[in-house]
């Protein structure tokens, strides 16, 4: 997993709440057995008509967001199905950071496991980012070491993350390798239960 420490990038605002993982990556694309290549299917039913032609009125199809790497959305982002194809699709499309006023638990967890940084900010700050990101090409910087989100005009917001999850992301650890160092304790548990 690639570490993430500090990231400056273009905001893509998606002002909707309760965006479920069925929208992030529809079921017809869950049949692949690989981990790569899901970006092309991100938000498929919102981005495309059935025949694959783009829906002009869906904002992610606007060229100005071509290089976006920070997605900002409303509350309860990633609810519904546990499919990890959702963070895979977001990452493959180019998103490294996702900001929302709240996340669904499983999705949040899945992001951490893939080196995507999920950030919870209050509703007011999220709305500010969404407005700024809708009006112009809007870059922000996310600093995981300092746990701060900032822009060039003085906006600054701090965010929480558990120390363990922060370490995982900063170091890009392989969690299974870490756990296997506790192999003796797992053996002990199994022999006593």
């Amino acid at each position: 997993m690639e570490p993430i420490k500090k990231h400056k990038g273009l905001v893509y605002p998606l002002n909707r709440s309760n965006i479920d993982t069925d929208q992030i990556i529809p079921k017809q694309f869950l049949k692949r057995i690989e981990r790569q290549g899901f970006g092309q299917f991100l938000f498929f039913n919102w981005r495309f008509f059935d025949d694959g032609t783009p829906r002009e009125n869906f904002s992610l199809n606007d060229d100005k967001y071509n290089d976006a790497s920070i997605l900002v959305a409303g509350e309860n982002f990633g609810c519904g199905s546990s499919r990890e194809h959702a963070p895979w699709a977001l990452q493959d499309f180019g998103f490294k950071v996702i900001i929302a006023s709240s996340f669904a638990d499983i999705f949040y967890n899945n992001c951490i496991k893939n080196g995507i940084l999920p950030i919870v900010l209050n509703e007011e700050t999220v709305q500010k980012l969404i407005v700024n990101g809708s009006n112009e090409k809007y870059d922000i910087t996310v600093d995981l070491e300092r746990q701060i989100v900032e822009d060039e005009n003085g906006l600054q917001a701090t965010f929480d993350i558990t120390p363990y999850q922060r370490q995982m992301l900063l170091n890009g650890w392989d969690e299974i390798a870490v756990t296997l160092t506790h192999g003796d304790k797992i053996d002990l548990y199994e022999s006593t239960h």
Binding site: N15, R16, S17, N18, D20, D22, Q23, P26, K27, Q28, L30, K31, R32, I33, E34, R35, N45, D50, G74, E75, N76, C79, G80, S81, S82, R83, E84, P87, S102, A104, D105, I106, N109, N110, K113, N114, T162, P163, Y164, D174, E175, I176, T179, L180, H182, K185, I186, Y189, E190, H193
Partner: protein
């Protein structure tokens, strides 16, 4: 005196392998259920790193999401076929038991776990599937995980987990006649929203919960994730112990196991991080009108008006949902005509669900222009239903009687609702596109779905028990 504890705390304490300041707990996993959609990349990860499956004996796999429910062996979609073949190869390579498409134990992963007695009180149970919460009905701590965690459990039989907060959903009183466990859980979500369980494990308590059968409890726990909670459970009691008695994987020394399970129930005086209450007596049969399970109203009500929404965002959300669903604000939900009926899914595809639906359709005919299908949750549900003639009742009424699988719940196989068409469905998600691109889903109980199939629109099953006309 010992401090009173909740069942969640008790199960947790029994499973901690390692604890360290500033870290989540390393939790032992007793049962890992696997299906074809969320596992291929996990097995591939094991291979790439030269790792093996630590406890194949605590791992159990089935195929459910992709399987055809008619013409069982004609898998038209080659990618689906590859995914199923891949699971077979992975199970062979790593020595995991698999109920594949021909196996008498095949079925939806959350239906077969309990049926086989693999699901037991006090176990930690995971699966790469958000409806793993279903198994909580037995007093197990059961939750959905992503594919990276599937790989982690395969390799280590453990997971790093932060201790969850607990939420008591207390259901007072009694459910009325014709009001089901499905209506109960839909009403709970309608009242509290699709996020109120986020960050919590729900424990369902109260008189109405105690009165539910095991299958009804599974329906309730199944939809915990629709309230945002990764897990939802019910302290085990006599109903639980009776259900599990004699199941294939139930403990041999059953009395001893029961004595141990009894210890798990939440102690009197234990405290929760939060509590919500609901009165069962006030609940009517429910129908969802929108694009998440919280967008739900009693069958006697009308579709909401965007202007009545609490905020600008909620207003927009309502407008978008109405547009997607092709509904008018203030339209009575009973006036909505449907073209499809799906009775199935891990929420409502067990024998008692099929019995109740059959009871409604017996001797009647599915409305012209309505396609209605029944998809039993497992092969053994199907066999049991056929043994008591339920298939004949459904077929005579004009339903299609299918083989077991997830089917139209998520439409990964050929069972798809066409764009713009409307389905009364006993499943758990009415998200946009869930049952097919552009498909419009209304979540209801099996009884409500059955009655809608006959009438072609939603009706209150409470008045439907007797013939409407003669």
């Amino acid at each position: 005196m010992k401090t009173p504890k909740t069942i969640v705390e008790k199960i947790w304490e029994r499973h901690v392998v390692h604890q360290e300041e500033g870290k989540p707990d390393l939790l032992y996993i007793d049962l890992h259920l696997v299906h074809e959609v969320t596992s291929p990349q996990a097995f591939e990860g094991l291979r790439m790193n030269g790792r093996s499956v630590r406890r194949p004996d605590k791992t159990y796999a089935t195929m459910d999401h992709n399987v055809p429910t008619r013409e069982r062996h004609i898998i038209r979609d080659q990618i689906s076929k590859t995914q199923m073949d891949t699971l077979k190869q992975n199970c062979q390579q790593f020595g995991i038991s698999l109920a594949d498409i021909d196996h008498p134990d095949q079925g939806i992963v959350h239906v077969i776990g309990p049926e086989l007695g693999l699901t037991q009180p006090g176990k930690t149970i995971v699966c790469g599937d958000s409806h793993t919460s279903t198994h909580g009905a037995f007093g197990a701590l059961a939750f959905g995980i992503g594919t990276s965690e599937v790989e982690h459990v395969l390799a280590t039989q453990t997971l790093w987990q932060a201790r969850p907060k607990t939420l008591n959903v207390k259901v007072n009183g009694k459910l009325g006649l014709g009001v089901t466990a499905k209506d109960l859980i839909l009403a709970i979500i309608a009242q509290n929203g699709v996020r109120f369980g986020t960050g919590y494990v729900i424990e369902y308590t109260g008189e109405a919960i105690r009165n539910l059968s095991m299958e009804e409890r599974m329906t309730v726990c199944n939809m915990s994730i629709e309230a945002g909670a990764r897990a939802g459970l019910i302290s085990p009691d006599k109903t639980t112990f009776e259900y599990l008695k004699g199941k294939r994987h139930s403990p041999e020394n059953y009395e001893e196991a029961v004595a141990n399970w009894k210890e798990l129930a939440t102690d009197n005086g234990a405290t929760y991080d939060a509590t919500v209450e609901i009165n069962a007596d006030e609940i009517e049969p429910q129908v969802t009108w929108g694009t998440n399970p919280g967008m739900c109203i009693p069958v006697s009500a009308s579709v909401p008006h965007p202007e009545a929404a609490a905020s600008a965002n909620a207003k927009e959300e309502t407008e978008r949902a109405l547009e997607y669903m092709g509904l008018e604000a203030d339209q009575p939900i009973s006036s909505v005509n449907i073209e499809h009926v799906f009775i199935g899914s891990c929420t409502n595809s067990r024998l008692s669900d099929l019995r109740k639906a059959a009871d409604i359709v017996s001797g009647k005919k599915v409305k012209d222009g309505v396609q209605a299908i029944v998809v039993p949750g497992s092969h053994s549900v199907k066999t049991a239903a056929e043994a008591e003639g339920l298939d004949a009742i459904f077929k005579q009424a004009g339903f299609e009687w299918r083989d077991a699988g997830c089917s139209m719940c998520l439409a990964m196989n050929d069972d798809v609702v066409p764009p713009g068409e409307r389905c009364a469905s006993t499943s758990n998600r009415n998200f946009e596109g869930r049952q097919g691109n552009g498909a419009r889903t209304h979540l209801v109980s099996p009884e409500m779905a059955a009655a809608a199939a006959i009438e072609g629109h939603f009706v209150d099953v409470r008045n439907y028990k007797q013939p409407v006309t003669n």
